[in-house]
Amino acid sequence: MDIMLFGPELFYLGMALVFFCLTLRRQVQVRLDYQIALALSAVGVLVTGLCLFQQGDLFFKAYRVDLFSQIFKFALALGLFLVLTISHNLAAIEERYQAEFYFFLTTTTIGMMMLVSSVELLTIYVALELSSYSLYILVPLRRGDGIDVEAGIKYLFIGAVSSGFMLFGLSYIFGATGSTYLVDILPKMNQLVNSPIGIIGLLLALAGFFFKLSVFPFHFWAPDVYQGGANQVVTFIATASKAAAVALLLRLAVLGHASGYNFTIALVILSVVSMTLGNLVAIVQKDFKRMLAYSSIAHAGVFLMGVLTITEAGYIGVIYYALAYLVMNFTVFMVLSEVAADGRDLQISELAGLYRRSPLLSMSLILGIFALAGVPPSIGFTGKLLIFTSAMNAGYFWLVVIGAVNGTICLYYYLKVLYAAYFIDDPGLPVITLSLPMRLLNYALAAIIIGFGFCPDRIVELAKAAAKAVL
């Protein structure tokens, strides 16, 4: 077994071990923990980057390492690193639990990494639970007066019910195909064209990922958890965890390819409702994170739109957009957590005067928001357009129309954020000073958002290769 194949996972296991040890200490050393975490996650990004072009099978073919999985692993590693960069001020988490915070972040990352490489249903299930449970724990870790545990409990139970459905679906797939390996299932699924068991099982099995991606009707946790969780935790949920869910949707949707119309019509319904519901409800939100939660619901619809095409173009679009979403959503969350330095929930109106308090952050905010809204020249625009293109190519004319109309609706609430940041000013609010690394991070994010939005070719080629690996 080539160690490089399992490199990232091993590295993060080691990292989890380090933090496990750190949790055992008596005295609290917040800075040290943070520095270790940051350093390790940076190395982790490197390691994952080095393993980007690995290929092979592990663990009796239950685990496949290919470009697809490695890209997403890289995204996860990057997501972890980015979340840790904004964890320099973990005001929302009690100091004595900060080591645990890093530990759980690491384990959830491991879970997701395993998830994106798994090609066996049970592995997928357990990896999903691993990543979810860590997050269930992270949400109520927040210092707070009850909304944290409330969010945690809602997250947990909705997750539990979803995974119950998923497990039920998995059992049907297992029953119908007699295997838990995707490679074995795929040809069998093709024989099940005339029987509903295949697609129902698959749809139920996808419930777990719908839950993770907050697709309607599995979205109910999102607003509450976004609002109730610590900013950094929510950032991770909103970025890395979405990428992992998208990856698995891509992997599993292939199974539905043969069952054709009924499968996609279900996804079309979910996609349309997710987009529309998310966007409409986001309009009336006042809490920034809650609004972003609804925006993530809407984005889930966009992802689904690409997934349901089950074409190469669609997969390219979705992979591209998943990476883009990670970066742009992170950008917005970064601004959020920098503005709410004391770890509180941020009302949209509290962004007032940001252009004066920190021009750099306000620039990042604009870029992030525009990217989320799909305004060029940003990765968000390019990604969305790629997805729309593929959907149109696959013949979903009305879906694209609805998606485009939703693109307008979403602009309304995104612009409200800009309105607050750019137009309202409260002279009493102090200037926000950013450390040099944070400033660099801002510039880097801006460069990525604009740069890859304008020149998406490389990423698209990469995504193409990755999409070939799953299809």
């Binding site: 296991l13 759980f104 491991i110 109520p140 119908a176 509903p196």
Partner: protein, 177 residues
Amino acid sequence: MNAVSAWLTPQTAATAAFVMVIGLTILGALIAVGARNIFHNVLGLCVSLFGVSGIFLFLNSPFVALMEILIYVGAICIAICFAIMLSEPLYLPPPPRNKAKVLGAAIGSAGIFVFLGLLLKKTQWTAAPERSTDWSVTTIGHYLLTDYALIFELVSLLLLVAMIGAIVIARGGRGNP
């Protein structure tokens, strides 16, 4: 006698036992969700789990049946009992039922039942063409360490996480009254 013995074939006995087991399972489940006393719920769950393990016996898996009782009844139910004692005082009278909610829940679960029932009704199951007959525990162990080794590791990690998490979360309040 002959009639009785004709009637009391092993199959009949097995069927009777099977019906009992099913009854146990469903009854237990009903108690688990229906009783208003939380301890009755736990007991119901235990009953139901015993039933399930009986079903596992019928499904040729004594090992799994045993594990079911060990893990569920032995671990989970006990943990639940602890949690009950750690949380709500039992002497509080239960609040009245919310009719709408019950009705909604009934409709929801009935909906799912209908949906999946329809599915089951319509599905033609086909067995695998070649079926191994190896039911030994050794094989299970073999699988655990070969094909499912990764999951085995994952589950251990999962349990670790759960443990630490439980400690962190449950401990949280005490230092912070």
